[in-house]
């Protein structure tokens, strides 16, 4: 381990004890506790080895906290989200939601996927109402709440459009409304805005921050974009390059809120943090890049 990484870990460790008191300290339970999570996938073909995506990961998300997870692309960040969502059982380790062990799907959490996830045969309104209807809310009430959320994400007048008839940014807004209408306590977000152009993306990020500060959800936000991570989060966790990804450093982002993601990038605090985190992240990105090259060459 390099000196820089070790130093960062110490720094992160200190911050962690201040920011997120553990449940046995007698305070409120964390929204999410991942302890010793390891995920290994069976070999994809003959002669291949099993693939360990994440190894021995400990992560916490305090109630109302916004945590960004950054790391090189393909480092197993999504795997962690899937474990937290209950979509993927971990091979070893313990997942706790507000102190309770997670069994099956995590119904306290809303998941915003990187890929497109709207049902193409339903209109924007029915897509947003979909989850409510699944939980037995009657159609009139579900429609009313769906329309209210569509208005909140700025899509009034687009209720009857099908996903095919919406732009990429609009589809993301519908997806956001689809998740938030369920009023989840925890939000899991997997590079939700990575496919958007930079302007739309910053708009969406600001909207997300507004909504988050309005009803203080706990957010796990996975991204490979450091700028996005610092602008949004209370805490940034840096993951090592895959396979067998594990957190290598943590940083508190003490930039005051409310924030504006378009302006924040000029503040000295932001620049300092960006430099410190990038120092570590760069090594992981390079490692992942080198590994990619050797795989491609072999």
């Amino acid at each position: 381990m390099t000196l820089a990484v070790a130093r960062a870990m110490v720094r992160g460790g200190e911050a962690l004890t201040i920011m997120t008191p553990t449940s046995d300290a007698g305070s409120r339970a964390n929204a999410l506790d991942l302890r010793g999570i390891t995920c290994t996938f069976p070999p994809s073909g003959k002669g291949e080895k099993p693939y360990t995506a994440v190894r021995d990961v400990n992560l916490t998300l305090a109630d109302g906290e916004f945590v960004a997870i950054v790391g090189p692309t393909g480092c197993g960040k999504s795997t962690l989200l899937n474990v937290a969502a209950g979509l993927l059982p971990a091979n070893t380790g313990d997942v706790r939601i507000f102190g309770q062990p997670l069994i099956g799907i995590n119904d306290r959490a809303g998941y915003m996927f990187q890929a497109e996830c709207l049902l193409p045969w339903l209109t924007a309104r029915r897509n947003v109402a979909f989850g409510l209807e699944l939980r037995g809310v009657d159609t009139a009430e579900a429609t009313r709440r769906a329309d209210a959320w569509l208005a909140r994400v700025g899509l009034s007048g687009f209720e009857d459009r099908y996903p095919k008839q919406l732009s990429g940014g609009m589809k993301k807004r519908v997806a956001l409304a689809q998740v938030l209408v369920m009023e989840p306590k925890i939000l899991l977000m997997d590079e939700p805005f990575s496919a958007l152009d930079i302007q739309t993306r910053q708009l969406m990020e600001n909207e997300l921050l507004d909504m988050w500060s309005a009803d203080k959800k706990s957010v796990f936000f996975v991204t490979h974009d450091l700028e996005e991570a610092i602008s949004l989060a209370d805490r940034v966790v840096v993951m090592s390059s895959g396979p067998a990804t594990t957190p290598v450093a943590e940083f508190n982002v003490d930039i005051p809120r409310p924030r504006d993601v378009t302006e924040i990038v000029q503040s000295p605090q932001y620049l300092d943090l960006h430099r410190r985190i990038w120092e570590i992240l760069k090594k992981e990105v390079l490692k992942s890049y080198e590994r990619g090259k050797t795989v491609a060459a072999s």
């Binding site: 099908y162 689809q178 369920m182």
Partner: protein, 255 residues
Amino acid sequence: MNNAKRHSIIWGARLAIIVALLIAWQISIEHSRIAAFFLGSPKKIGETLVEWFTTGSIYKHLGITLMETMLSFLIGTGFALILGLWLALNDMCAAIFDPFIKGLNSMPRLIMAPIFAVWFGLGIWSKVALGVTLVFFVVFFNVFQGIREVSPVLIANAKMLGASRQQLVRRVYIPSALSWVFSSLHLSVGLAFVGAVIGEYLGSSAGVGYLILEAEGTFDIETVLAGVILLTTCALILDFAITLFENSLLKWQGK
């Protein structure tokens, strides 16, 4: 403007081709008795068609053929949907039944027509059975593949939103299976029609295929060709109706 002009040129040319062919045909049979025997007279074919519709004698046969088409399509699609869904959602069953389905599909099914006639009699049901065997596989493979290829993210999303296994089938798998049924509609309705006509042709007591069969027995080439023209027109109208239906139903598939 330009588009309208293009449109009228296309239709004008099509009409000209048909008229030219008919004239060439009429001239050739007037100059050669052999041609007249083998090709029949377009004038007489026209008269036969007019007579069928003015006396109304054709409606009974046409009605039976269309009824068989409809039944073949509905029954074949119904079975295919149920079996396609079931096998696509059960890996083990899919693995067990895979060789049987492939085998049945590669079997030349027209050979089965006489057997169906023995099993179901000479009425409409033997034709329906033949049509079903043709429609079933087209729809089945579409549904099976369609269900298998439902995006895993769509499924994960529905699960996160609280879908139970049953809700997943009803609200995600079946709608996407239906969209695959619609995408194979042209082919499956076409095959249902083919099944009905071939079935009639191989042994029946009514239907357009039966009329053709009967006329062939007496070397009445004009009636045979009138029947063929009638069938072609019906197939075109069916295809057009499906296109209209698709446009109204599949708005979400958009451009």
